[in-house]
């Protein structure tokens, strides 16, 4: 026999004290109470009713805190200690079992738009008992006060006469069973549906936590009067913030907070005016830019912000101090600045110690910001704090004290496409012992959306590891691709656009071309002029380079993915496009290829002369899949073929 930690459980406590105090405890935790006779039970009922009336103004009594069919209780509030330990051990030693779920057909018989894979720690059989069904809201164990606002907000998304859309139905099981989620089929058309669901979950989590704490406060203050304090009520973390939402821009934050306000059913909001002035702007972008660009950069597109939100019964308070907040919304940069530097003496990251849900939305846009900030944020989550900040140690959950909170944290990542960085986040930073689910879309390929006949040539080069990929790529480019590219360029009157996603590669190639240019000049050989623009170039530099390229005065233009992401220029005068690496965002491929079609329609290039060439290695499978389609990518990456042409 081993002395268990909570040697004085509620049960024992209740058993020892045969008076009204214990009965009130029993009443609220029915499954812990020992069998009692009928009369006893009746008594209990009346007791607990009295209790509820006492703090009804503060707390909904719509759920039992130890109802283990409630995923909040099962996962956070009252996890099985033995199971928890073994799962954490599995997660620590990185023993995960992966199960690929067969893409189930939709209700209307169409093939599913995505494939799903589920990972769980250890080799235990997957526990299905808490799988939440999406049939109706009551089954989700949602706080009652959240139900009617949600029905109202989500009205237009419901399908087949139900509350939820089909997409929402597939999102609900993992999200509401507190599993980790990487959801790649996000798009501007389903953004709101997704946001409604995760906002509901975040609010539900905050309210459940808060209500439990308030209820226990009342219970303890009652007990204190009767001078007993052996009751173990562990219901909180080190600090108050429970949910962290990471978004790319202030505008996205504004939108999210709007959704929260409507979903929370709060009748008043403090500091809303200040929020509007600092986070909202009605600036719109020209219609000529693509839709996703206008969505992402609309309004206040500042990417440096952080804000704390606090909920009380009737009000939502904005701009609360972090240690007093339930929810923190921040951009990676904003949060990184709050975290500060290691050398910083007043460094304080304790507010990240007790985050139980992390939501990252529009992750694909965040990859275009500094991804290093994201890594730093995740490294600072769920650490044991440096200072107590006045927390009550007798009420901190055991798994917090044991430093296991990162194994219970739920992380939800929504992205329009998956990059290796996001995959790394999924495998190295998401440790949720509840399991993790990945939704991977089935792509038909961006190529099919072009609509015009055009030759696309993909050439494969070999590299044995991602680490040596840049070196191999550079070598392949300078020895194989560049000479032939130069031949076609000098033969033609129009220009070649070289698209380079990474800035590092960009600098390397710019320097290489510069060097070649100097050598050619010395030899008196006919060199060619080139210009190069990137995300750091000034507007005037970019304008000049574009004009030179358009006029054919510079034959080659180097162009980076981030520049395209932030500006979405239309480059005129291209006849050949060479992709040093494929863009992460498949729509960029389309937009860039359309430069050629534009050249043709402008009469600058001959329809037969235009071409798109790309080089790739097997490490580019994710990017390639989005462009050529899921069905082809495996063959292209694994096969022995080197050149693939689509027309």
């Amino acid at each position: 026999m081993i002395l268990s930690r909570t040697t004085m459980t509620k049960k024992e406590f209740a058993a020892q004290k045969g008076n009204s105090v214990s009965q009130s405890v029993k009443g609220e935790t029915p499954e812990l109470s020992r069998p009692v006779d009928d009369s006893g039970r009746l008594e209990i009922k009346s007791e607990s009713e009295e209790d509820t009336s006492e703090f009804e103004h503060e707390v909904d009594e719509d759920e039992e805190e130890s109802d283990s069919s409630n995923p909040f209780v099962y996962h956070f509030a009252n996890p099985n200690e033995v199971l928890l330990k073994s799962m954490v051990n599995h997660a620590q030693s990185k023993e995960w079992t992966t199960e690929k779920l067969k893409s189930t057909a939709n209700a209307n018989g169409k093939p599913s738009k995505y494939s799903m894979s589920v990972q769980r720690p250890g080799s235990l059989p997957f526990h299905e008992e808490i799988k939440t069904s999406a049939a109706n809201l009551n089954d989700l164990k949602i706080k009652k006060r959240l139900i009617s606002p949600f029905l109202d907000v989500n009205k237009k998304h419901g399908s087949d006469g139900g509350i939820f859309s089909n997409l929402q139905k597939s999102l609900i099981p993992p999200i509401f069973s507190n599993e980790d989620l990487l959801f790649a089929p996000r798009s501007i058309s389903n953004a709101q549906e997704i946001q409604n669901i995760y906002s509901l979950h975040a609010l539900n989590h905050i309210f459940q936590t808060r209500d439990t704490v308030l209820k226990n406060n009342a219970r303890l203050s009652k007990l204190r009067r009767s001078d007993e304090n052996f009751l173990e009520l562990r219901d909180q973390g080190f600090t108050r913030p429970k949910v962290l939402v990471v978004l790319p821009t202030r505008n996205a934050c504004h939108q999210f907070v709007e959704t929260l306000i409507r979903l929370s059913g709060t009748s008043q909001q403090e500091n809303l005016k200040r929020f509007k002035t600092t986070y909202y702007s009605n600036a719109t972008l020209p219609k000529t830019k693509p839709e996703d660009f206008r969505q992402l950069f609309a309004g206040n597109n500042d990417d440096n912000f952080r804000i704390g939100l606090k909920f009380t019964r009737k009000t939502l308070k904005l701009f609360t101090e972090f240690y007093n907040s339930d929810l923190i919304v921040a951009s990676p940069l904003g949060l990184r600045l709050a975290i500060g530097d290691k050398t910083d003496k007043k460094r304080d990251v304790d507010f990240l110690s007790s985050i139980e849900i992390v939501i990252v939305d529009q992750t694909s846009a965040i990859t275009m910001q500094n991804w290093d900030h994201m890594i730093q944020i995740f490294n600072h989550l769920n650490l044991i704090p440096k200072d107590s900040h006045g927390c009550d140690f007798s009420r901190i959950r055991n798994w917090y004290l044991d430093g296991e909170s990162k194994y219970l944290r739920q992380t939800l990542v929504f992205t329009e496409f998956i990059t290796p960085e996001i995959n790394a986040l999924f495998s190295h930073q998401m440790h949720n012992i509840g399991g993790k689910v990945k939704f991977h879309p089935v792509y038909s390929g961006a190529l099919t959306d072009i609509g015009t006949k055009l030759d696309h040539v993909f050439t494969k080069f070999f590299s044995s590891s991602p680490q040596e990929d840049p070196e191999k790529r550079f070598k392949y480019f300078t020895t194989k691709a560049l000479p032939s590219l130069m031949r076609t360029t000098s033969a033609s009157s129009s220009g070649t656009l070289i698209f380079i996603p990474s800035y590092v590669d960009y600098v390397r190639i710019r320097n290489y071309l510069e060097q070649e240019h100097q050598i050619n000049k010395k030899l008196g050989a006919s060199g060619f002029s080139f210009s190069a623009i990137n995300e750091y170039s000034s507007v005037s530099d970019v304008t000049r380079a574009r004009a030179l390229f358009k006029d054919g005065q510079s034959k080659v233009l180097l162009y980076t993915e981030r520049l395209h992401h932030f500006r979405r220029y239309e480059i005129k005068g291209a006849e050949t496009i060479f992709m040093y690496a494929l863009p992460d965002n498949p729509s960029f491929y389309l937009e860039i290829v359309r430069f050629l079609l534009r050249s043709v329609s402008d009469g600058r290039a001959d329809k037969g002369a235009i071409s798109v060439k790309s080089i790739f290695s097997k490490w580019d499978a994710l990017k390639l899949e989005r462009i050529v389609g899921t069905s082809r990518v495996a063959k292209m990456c694994a096969g022995s073929g080197e050149v693939f042409e689509f027309s």
Partner: protein
């Protein structure tokens, strides 16, 4: 057999005495040979076996049954006679019968001793899943608060830091405490700790068992009342101030100005043996350690002005045998159980005769042999004679060749001069650190003590 008599003069606290002189116990045929015989439950007996406790020591034989009955105990036994287990075993057994978090609290006067006691508790209690926390000064408050938040069964603490947590760590209280132990109780109950013990006791329920243990015990009843014992039993295995028989004690008398020279000579004589040198001040320990190091001896200082991590580091090095000489203040005088110590050298004569008993008790532990040497100069004579008076015997003079000693004086003088310079640097460093420490956050001071670093 133990003679029991109620002492009349202690009527106030109704001291019941169980006195046992050493010879008596051994001759007695009824002596209890096993822990089982004392009423100790099987799992703990098993743990004792694993720790190679062959049979209960006299103090254990006397104290355990009384404590198991649930009486308050004042335990008095020589240094190195197994007092820690004498209170740990009854507490573990009571805990086993009625498990409860924050069940017992053990107070110790020094941090090192607290760590040592907790090690013993953990060793004995691991079989029953004991959780134990050490709460001492100089360590991070936050991680201690986390440890307390986990509700350990036993807390081993130094009084100051425990008070700090009771006042500042929300959600931590000792209101459910069942056992309070004061190890080195006379030290805890005297003037230095008295006030803080008084305020600690306000946080601890009156309905508890209290166990006091020491090798030397205060006779003043008012001090004992501080611990508010209820009907205590006094268990004494020796007369009040007695040193162990296996300890060979001697002294050396010489003029003060040759003190360092004599010390170096003695250390050299005993090279290869493990020894503790006791000095009066922190400064002296550092100076002596530097002199010895300059002369090529592996010496490491231990005193209260070092950071807690360097203190533990120094002690661990000495324990592991990486350093054979520990130069310490009285912070190491009590309780520390380092079985390998061959010799205790009193560089300064202790001002308190009790301190002498405890100092020399660091050697000749648990039946082993050991020796102690006191360096007496013309200024220490009065103190030394008082100690002899308390011990009730005259010690032998250590035979020494005075001319051989004087041969060393030149080298020692050199080392002394070097030491003076090094000390100056050290103090300058410390001053800098202090000013940094004030501007920086509390407890974040960088560790610049390189006193116990590996030599290159």
């Amino acid at each position: 057999m133990a003679k029991q008599k109620v002492k009349d003069e202690d009527r106030d606290s109704k001291l019941e005495e169980v006195e046992l002189t050493e010879g008596d116990g051994e001759l007695e045929p009824k002596e209890i040979e096993t822990f089982e015989g004392l009423g100790v439950i099987a799992p703990i007996c098993e743990a004792c076996k694993n720790l190679k406790f062959k049979k209960p020591t006299p103090i254990q034989q006397q104290a355990i049954p009384v404590a198991l009955e649930g009486r308050d105990v004042i335990g008095l036994a020589q240094t190195g006679s197994g007092k820690t287990a004498a209170f740990a075993i009854p507490i573990l057994q009571a805990l086993w019968e009625r498990p409860q978090p924050l069940f017992a609290c053990v107070l110790a006067p020094t941090r090192e001793l607290a760590y040592q006691i907790s090690e013993q508790f953990e060793a004995l209690g691991s079989v029953i899943g004991l959780r134990c926390a050490v709460i001492v000064g100089g360590m991070d408050m936050m991680s201690q608060a986390v440890a307390l938040g986990k509700k350990p069964h036993v807390i081993v603490a130094t009084p100051g830091r425990l008070m700090d947590h009771l006042e500042h760590t929300k959600g931590f209280s000792l209101r459910g405490l069942k056992y309070l132990v004061m190890d080195e109780a006379d030290r805890l109950l005297d003037m230095d700790f008295g006030p803080i013990i008084d305020s600690l006791l306000l946080h601890i329920p009156r309905e508890r068992r209290t166990l006091l243990f020491s090798a030397t015990m205060t006779s003043k009843v008012e001090k004992l009342q501080r611990a508010s014992l209820a009907n205590p039993v006094r268990v004494a295995v020796s007369t009040k101030y007695e040193t162990v028989k296996t300890l060979l004690q001697s002294y050396l008398f010489f003029p003060f100005k040759h003190k360092d020279t004599y010390l170096v000579y003695l250390v050299n004589e005993m090279a290869g043996q493990s020894m503790i040198i006791f000095a009066r001040t922190c400064n002296d320990t550092e100076r002596v350690a530097i002199i010895l190091r300059n002369l090529g001896f592996a010496a490491v200082p231990l005193h209260g002005q070092m950071s807690q991590s360097s203190r533990l580091g120094a002690l661990n090095k000495f324990k592991a045998g990486a350093r054979s000489i520990l130069v310490a203040t009285d912070v190491a005088a009590r309780g520390l159980d380092i079985p390998t110590v061959d010799c205790v050298l009193n560089y300064d004569i202790p001002t308190d005769s009790k301190a002498y008993i405890h100092r020399v008790g660091r050697t000749a532990r648990a039946g082993r042999a050991g020796k102690s040497l006191s360096l007496v100069t013309q200024y220490d004579l009065e103190m030394y004679l008082r100690i002899e008076g308390v011990l009730g015997k005259k010690l032998d003079e250590y035979p020494i060749d005075k001319e051989a000693v004087m041969l060393l004086s030149e080298r020692v003088g050199e080392a002394q001069r070097e030491a003076v310079n090094e000390m100056k640097e050290l103090h300058a460093k410390r001053r800098n650190r202090k000013t940094e420490g004030i501007s920086g956050a509390r407890g974040k001071r960088k560790r610049t003590d390189d006193m116990d670093k590996e030599e290159s």
